[in-house]
Symmetry: C2
């Protein structure tokens, strides 16, 4: 397999001068490297060595970051050896290694690299693509991961994995609610984690659970490939004490509001709020959707009724204030909790809204 | 900040032919890229474009992986734009994108990239280096992470973070033991997580807790910088119901064995077992050390006494069988549990050994 190592340095001398010194090294020649490009100035430069077996070393520096060298080493073999050698050689020339990545795997069958909401990058151990299809609503993938079990991605966004009971417990109130004899409405939650958890609560099981998720294909795929998460909870869409509707929740919420129907708990596991979204127009639409859902749900809660939802990454960089402002505009008591969700590789914030007396 | 994106492709045609087609693209010229290296054959090649602002595109292919193209895009700006453009251009030439990393941060003050035991790579969100020093035993770093709190690395290996109560609970038996009135010995555990957890168990607190860790500098650094993990448990090394010894545990274990001293529980949080170690000699020494500790501890356990320990990554690739063989050679009942430890980004295996009747 081809691998790449990124290894960067702070240089005491101007980078061009440091690289001139490096060029005298016999070690590169020993590794079979020959010079392809030599474009060296003090403040900017590009140097490329390649070897007969495809081993390569690209060194770059930029006016924007004086005194910093950026090396990229790629190849099928001897990548680590060359990276270690470069570090040793440059340290002898008073440069200090800063970033030094482990070998990054190239050309894999699936892309295992994912960016978290806080901008950090992780490689997931996707072993097998268990399911891939496009529904009318989204691209659906389920991978098998050794560490996280079955791992659902919607439009390539990590959604939930078998490892994430912490997510399900948190969105269900972290074991602080008594669901005994209550009516519960789940919005979204197509992975089946929440409905499976609630149906198996004993002896504090709700009286009735209703779930509305727009995407039947997600539910069917999860029912088959994520059974550690959903168990048999979605094998049948209707049974004793529960019903699942594969449809857009908005018309049903509207109708329930008109009918005066109430749920003691509403657990909203719809698409993440538009915090961190880069597309402003899409962003606006998502805020509007969120407000619509919140307002419709508030009508379905009795006094002291509870609405819980997943929110956003603990370290989301913007949008949080707008989100809190929307929540604050409702007649609710708000509490939140940040929880480590294993497959997310970062903490996630969950909200509980308790409807105040009118 | 300089960033790099790695983006790889499967090509229908030979790579050289695909790249010849790509060279006609006006888009690269629009981005201000000029050709630096053009070394193109069907089965192997290196092509390097650079721009005036340091944007660069390196495309490589190798005889070892026919039909696969490997592109590395680096620069201070327009990195994502160029990666997206390359993907679009190559897809028009019947190539399929496989790996497509998020932007990888270069030249950071600290290296945030860590390799898990299963070979996957993660970037941690290290915000601040709270502590760095070298003790006689190891290099000690404590970073502040937004997601994981204070984050301890020993010799650059992730050890424990404030987020990892799951680790502490697991090594203490996952809440299945009753410590009430018992004597507990902790080996290692210099981060203070275990002793803090046990001292605060209520109402099932042990009668006496003894902890032996070789590295006083680790304990003092954690007592200052990892208080979410250790609380005040290591502020004083001796107090009501506990004592901490900053020393090599082996002589003391030997003496206790000679004296016939017993502990109801021994919790061994010493260095990870040598699973996955690459250096064979060091490996052998570590196995020997592990066997030494195990044998000495078995003498300190009464019948039904319990020894728990952290083991290895769930997906460690070798060494597990040797480890299990060593455990199986003891007169103990063995059970194990794999637990998601947030800052590890992978599951970790914990073992419980219960001493059988002689």
């Amino acid at each position: 397999m081809i691998k790449s190592i990124l290894v960067d340095f702070n240089c005491e001398k101007p980078c061009g001068e440091t690289i001139e010194l490096l060029s005298n090294s016999a070690a590169f020649v020993d590794l079979g490297l020959t010079l392809q490009t030599w474009n060296v100035k003090d403040i900017a430069g590009t140097v490329l060595y390649t070897g007969s077996d495809g081993l390569s070393l690209l060194i770059q520096w930029y006016p924007a970051s004086p005194g910093k060298l950026y090396a990229t080493i790629s190849g099928a073999a001897r990548v680590q050896q060359l990276a270690d050698l470069l570090k040793k050689e440059l340290e002898e020339k008073n440069a200090t290694s800063t970033v030094f990545t482990p070998p990054l795997k190239r050309g894999l069958e699936w892309n295992p690299y994912i960016q978290n909401c806080d901008g950090t990058v992780v490689e997931n151990d996707f072993q097998e693509l268990l399911f891939h299809d496009k529904s009318p609503f989204q691209d659906i993938k389920i991978y098998r991961s050794n560490n996280f079990g079955s791992y659902l991605l919607l439009d390539d966004d990590p959604n939930l994995a078998d490892s994430d009971i912490a997510y399900t417990k948190a969105i269900c109130g972290s074991e602080t609610f008594d669901f005994t004899g209550k009516n519960v409405l789940i919005l979204g939650g197509g992975d089946g984690g929440i409905i499976n958890y609630l149906r198996n609560l004993s002896p504090t099981k709700p009286k009735y659970i209703e779930m509305i998720d727009i995407d039947e294909m997600v539910m069917k795929a999860c029912a088959k490939h994520m059974r550690a998460t959903c168990g048999d909870a979605m094998d049948e869409f209707k049974g004793e004490g529960y019903e699942i509707f594969a449809e857009d929740c908005v018309p049903r919420l509207t109708r329930y509001g008109e009918e005066g129907k109430k749920f003691d708990f509403i657990i909203s596991d719809l698409t993440a709020i538009p915090v961190d979204a880069s597309d402003e127009k899409e962003n606006d639409n998502q805020w509007d959707f969120m407000k619509l859902i919140l307002n419709k749900c508030m009508l379905l809660l009795p006094e002291d009724g509870i609405y819980t939802t997943q929110g956003h990454a603990y370290r989301s960089t913007h949008g949080i204030e707008e989100y809190r402002a929307i929540l604050n505009s409702l007649n609710v008591e708000i509490s939140s909790e940040a929880v480590s969700v294993p497959s997310y590789h970062e903490k996630w914030v969950f909200y509980t809204l308790r409807k105040k007396t009118e």
